[in-house]
Point group: C2
Chain length 232, copies 2
DNA sequence: GTGAGATGAGAATGATATTCTCACCGCCAT
DNA sequence: ATGGCGGTGAGAATATCATTCTCATCTCAC
């Protein structure tokens, strides 16, 4: 998590195998402090960025703004991050991860598997709306940019959510409230549908553009999971 | 379509109301040639951009590249477009519009409403895949950028497709093969689901990330449209 | 042939990300 | 205590683009 260039460097130069144990321990001790300091700095950058996202509703702020707000320096910023891109990715993964935890907990308190799944869908939908609790932009201009340019990283970031939804789908299937299928694929389809449709709903854009709500999307997805009533 | 700054200027300065008809005709005649020339230039820019998109698989090319390739000048580019943004938007709308026409035609040759809808879904899915006929990027980094920053324009661009799908859903409902609902909203949901899920499927990214295929997404959507088997 | 608008060539501007320079500082093994 | 090393700050230097501007030239309808 947060692969920092410096941490790699430290590991390579300060722990060159073949050292007596005491030396390793010593180095370890002295390294720990440095690592802590570094993590604090990183956190200040992340916090500053989060604030800026909240304020400007976009990731269009400049690196300089992050630096100024966190009262550090450009030099330091690039010491810790490979670039603005890395910082945003860290925030993105973090947001999805926290979201997954939240949803898992909330759904866990539902004994009915179908209601649990429904709750999860509703929560995901609301958190994916264009400007929800700005604190945690599951979707931002950045997220979509990632989707096209680095799909693999998006997939990675989605993993925590995918896991939660897969579990919920499995439970529902085990309980027999929806037909058995391939839980992971179903969960994937479900997630993508909910997230993207939510995203597309930011603007009651004039005449057209149906503004779908949580209940509608849930019905749609439930139908999708339930499959078509088999006909001749 | 393609609101060009100069055309507005011409209209304002050369047709100042209250002119005898002959004069308007004269101006009209003399303007026509200029308009044609301009349209050719515009087209050259568009073609060049299209080529670049095809080659680089992204809209990250520079305005300078468009200019060079079309053997025109920066001056001229900005004479005709408000900026790179306008040019991309034009290409985007055009692509969706052509796609809509294609789908409408193909679906039209299906007598069974359900098969027609299925065909439409399949075609849309395939055209929305990350790197299909690169000629017509329904989805590009640009499209997604638009989605966040100018949702209204996306909605506008989607209209042709939305119209087609709305018709197909209506036909299916009229034929009784799916339950009646709100065709426009259903079509919207359908489109978004298909397009976005397709987009999210570009990369078999290692272990996770279920790669959904056209048949799967069709089943899912059909289920969604058909609704849940009514329960107590 | 004349004048208004269009064009070309390319310099100028402005916004950003990213890198580099250099002086300084704190830590810790000797 | 001290010498060296990695981290830091301040900010200049680069690099890349989009967009605008300058000026000379061109084209066409009159």
């Amino acid at each position: 998590m947060l692969p920092l260039k410096w941490s790699i460097v430290l590991r390579v130069t300060a722990v060159p195998e073949e050292q007596p144990a005491w030396r390793q321990r010593a180095v370890e001790r002295s390294t720990r402090a440095a690592k802590l300091r570094a993590e604090q700095r990183v956190q200040r950058f992340l916090d500053a960025a989060q604030e800026l996202i909240a304020e400007k509703r976009t990731t269009d702020f400049t690196v300089q703004e992050i630096v100024d707000r966190s009262k550090q320096s450009l030099r330091s910023f690039y010491q810790h991050f490979d670039g603005k891109h890395e910082l945003l990715l860290a925030l993105f993964e973090d947001a999805l991860s926290k979201s997954a935890a939240e949803i898992r907990e909330a759904a866990g308190s539902q004994s009915d598997p179908l209601l649990a799944l429904r709750l999860a869908v509703t929560m995901l939908f609301e958190q994916s709306l264009p400007n929800p609790g700005v604190e945690r932009p599951l979707f931002s201009d950045f997220a979509l940019q990632l989707l096209v340019k680095h799909p693999a990283q998006v997939a990675t970031a989605h993993l925590p959510l995918l896991t939660v939804f897969t579990e919920l789908v499995e439970q529902a299937e085990d309980a027999g409230v929806i037909p058995a299928g391939k839980p992971r694929r179903q969960a994937s389809l479900l997630m993508q549908t909910v997230m993207f449709v939510a995203q597309g709903n930011g603007v009651p854009a004039g005449s057209h553009a149906a503004g779908v709500n949580a209940e509608e999307i849930w019905q749609f997805c439930l139908g999708g999971l339930s499959g078509v009533p088999v006909r001749s």
